[in-house]
Assembly symmetry: C2
Homo-oligomer: 423 residues x 2
């Protein structure tokens, strides 16, 4: 199924996105003073990063080759113009289409750029925040999720772990394989939730179902797991049947806003990024409705930020439409505080996500021939850039991975220490 | 020195504070319909709590005695009027002066009341927040701190642990004594800070110096510790000399805003509550100045809230002028986010503070005769109410105790897991 698709389907390439891409190659020739001026504009966006720029005629800017972590090679004038005007989106689109290339270590170049950008970032980004909020209505949410998660289970199986877990792993010790680290992550989450046999759990945004099945199988709980990606839900249901867990785990193809019933524990791993700030109160309402008023506990695992900033616009446009990584304060003030939930524990697993992504990227590259059989070159380059860029963002500290454990405000049946997490 | 003082010095009692306290006893007689109406007003403030009210003539309101956790006995009409008008402050003042008493379990009565109030609390408290912010200028801060902390080391020595630690202990196991739990807390903080021998530490708000000395003695670091309470600083300096640690620990009598120099780690235990929201940016500036730009780490340990609300007005008026327990979001948005600090870890030790306070209250009661030799009856009653009320607030979930560990946003030399905390 996946192999019938093209990057055109998946990444919504259109001529508007690439500006004057139709003129590629038609204007080659020596760079003019005007081109050099544009090169300077682009260079300012990279201020503080040891990144070299080179044009089609060999003229260059930035630090000498020996001290640069890499060189961005721009192959034509329209790309240069577009890069000066809208560097983030153009960089991604042009890389994807091969109108721009990177010599040297792609990961190091991106990490260096993100570190520099983080230091240069303006602190006055309130207006950006409102832009970033988007409006993930029920229908838009379904379209956004379909865009990313329904491109074919076979493709994800190429580079995810055996359990098909598409969220940050937990390398309890650094020598762990990705397979073990995903199991360790699921156990870490279950311990934080203090699951007891026979309890009811609701999971919002369950991916291919690995955590739901793990909780039922190893912690003896009953799970209702929600997801709006049809391909994922079908896959998860098959797994439940194969594992004989259909009686204990129900996979529901529906939006988190439609979650009904009650539970002892609520968990969501990697969904909050897709909710959008202006729908956090909806999630708060769901938490308040499904958890009992005097007890009940929950865990939110999400990609976040130290400072409020929208997601990289290219990632948002091509990879994760509608996505936004929140700050802890945004989550607390819009979800937990208004309902008097008490934050018990916050853990930042940023470097674990960098490690997870490194391994995904490595597996992706090792499967690149299969990827090319499924998709076109632009798709493969876009996906490489997304995985490398995400790795670099976590390494550079531009993105965080937060696990927040919470309970009802008046509940005194909370863990005395964290000894149960590291037993 | 402490014994020369009276409650009048310490608690600033004045006639304005008690309303028409001069009329005490002059209006006793059977309660009238008007009194019963006022009693109803007072009762509404206690809605949802199993607390009984009784007037001077025996007339009562609330649940029957058998199902009440306790009875508030109001001894005269002016107290009743004042209680109806301003219940929080009047309750404390009248209890302190013996115009009001509690029959039954004081702690249980307070906890029940706070639990009910937490559930009734309005969520629209933004205007209260601004009131609560106060303005702790350098001079006001000094007066506020003098008010509470300079009432005599001898008094605190009666009921604190041997190390004189006046902040939440960490009962790593529940059977620990208070003495051991305070040592465990200091070790917990040092492990979270990952102190290495030879490093420089700055402590803001060092109390009687226990943590500063502990860090120097057991973790081999150099400490500069700041405090604006003269009695505490003098005491701490004597301890440093006695322990032969004067070369490694410098106690500075100055405000956190005047902290200069640099350090590898910054720690503040129980000071943030006294800073005041509108001075959080000052603290952020200090953190940014003293920690190196590429590394450096810190820990803030403070009493906080799940929702923004001012401190109980009686506690604020009589015990801790200028104090405010913030939410995590207030700390993050005003201190850590603007400087791109990364939150690594948040731990909520609410029940540990309830346990700590129980033990302080117990020791206080066992020393009550000595307290009466030092201070008058009103002081002793005020202090009992403060300790019992604080215990009840932590038990009821009205107050939290947060430990926040943070690092520079781009620093990858952060702990891989929390195994080092529970080794």
């Amino acid at each position: 199924m996946a192999s019938e698709r093209t990057a055109g389907d998946v990444l919504r390439l259109d001529s508007a996105a690439t500006g004057s891409a139709v003129t590629i190659g038609s204007e080659l020739g020596p760079a003019r003073p005007w081109d050099r001026w544009l090169l300077g504009v682009v260079q300012r966006h990279l201020q503080g990063a040891a990144v070299r720029l080179r044009l089609w005629d060999g003229s260059a800017a930035g630090p000498p080759e020996a001290s640069a972590v890499g060189t961005i090679v721009i192959s034509d004038r329209p790309t240069l113009i577009s890069l000066a005007r809208d560097p983030d989106v153009t960089f991604g689109d042009a890389y994807m289409q091969g109108r721009l290339d990177v010599e040297g270590d792609l990961l190091a170049l991106l990490e260096g750029t993100f570190r520099a950008q983080r230091l240069n970032a303006s602190l006055h980004t309130d207006w950006l925040r409102s832009l970033a909020a988007g409006s993930n209505t029920l229908r838009r949410a379904r379209e956004n999720i379909h865009h990313h998660y329904d491109i074919g289970n076979d493709f994800y199986a190429l580079w995810l772990d055996r359990q098909m877990v598409y969220t940050c792993a937990y390398f309890a010790d650094q020598a762990m394989t990705l397979e073990d680290a995903q199991l360790a992550k699921m156990d870490h989450v279950c311990r934080k939730l203090r699951l007891r046999p026979g309890e009811q759990v609701i999971e919002a945004g369950c991916g291919w179902g690995a955590l739901a099945l793990h909780m039922a199988q190893y912690y003896g709980v009953y799970v209702r797991a929600f997801n709006i990606s049809s391909e994922q839900i079908q896959f998860a249901r098959r797994r439940a049947r194969d594992a004989g867990l259909s009686e204990r785990v129900e996979f529901v193809e529906d939006d988190y806003r439609n979650v009904r019933g009650t539970c002892d524990a609520f968990v969501s791993v990697g969904m909050l990024e897709h909710v959008g700030l202006d729908h956090y109160p909806d999630l708060a309402m769901v938490l308040n409705r499904v958890l009992p008023p005097d007890r009940g506990r929950g865990l939110l695992h999400f990609i976040g930020r130290n400072q409020a900033l929208p997601l990289n616009p290219w990632i948002r446009k091509r990879i994760f439409p509608g996505a936004y990584p929140p700050t802890l304060a945004e989550v607390f003030t819009r979800i937990l505080e208004p309902r008097d939930f008490s934050v018990l524990d916050v853990e930042n697993l940023r470097l674990h996500y960098a490690r997870t992504l490194e391994q995904w990227l490595d597996r992706f590259e090792r499967s690149i021939e299969r990827v090319h059989m499924m998709f076109d070159a632009a798709f493969a380059r876009a996906w490489r850039l997304y995985l490398a860029g995400s790795t670099a963002s976590f390494r550079a500290g531009s993105l965080q991975l937060f696990q927040v454990t919470f309970a009802r405000g008046g509940d005194n049946d909370v863990p005395w220490t964290r000894a149960h997490l590291h037993g």
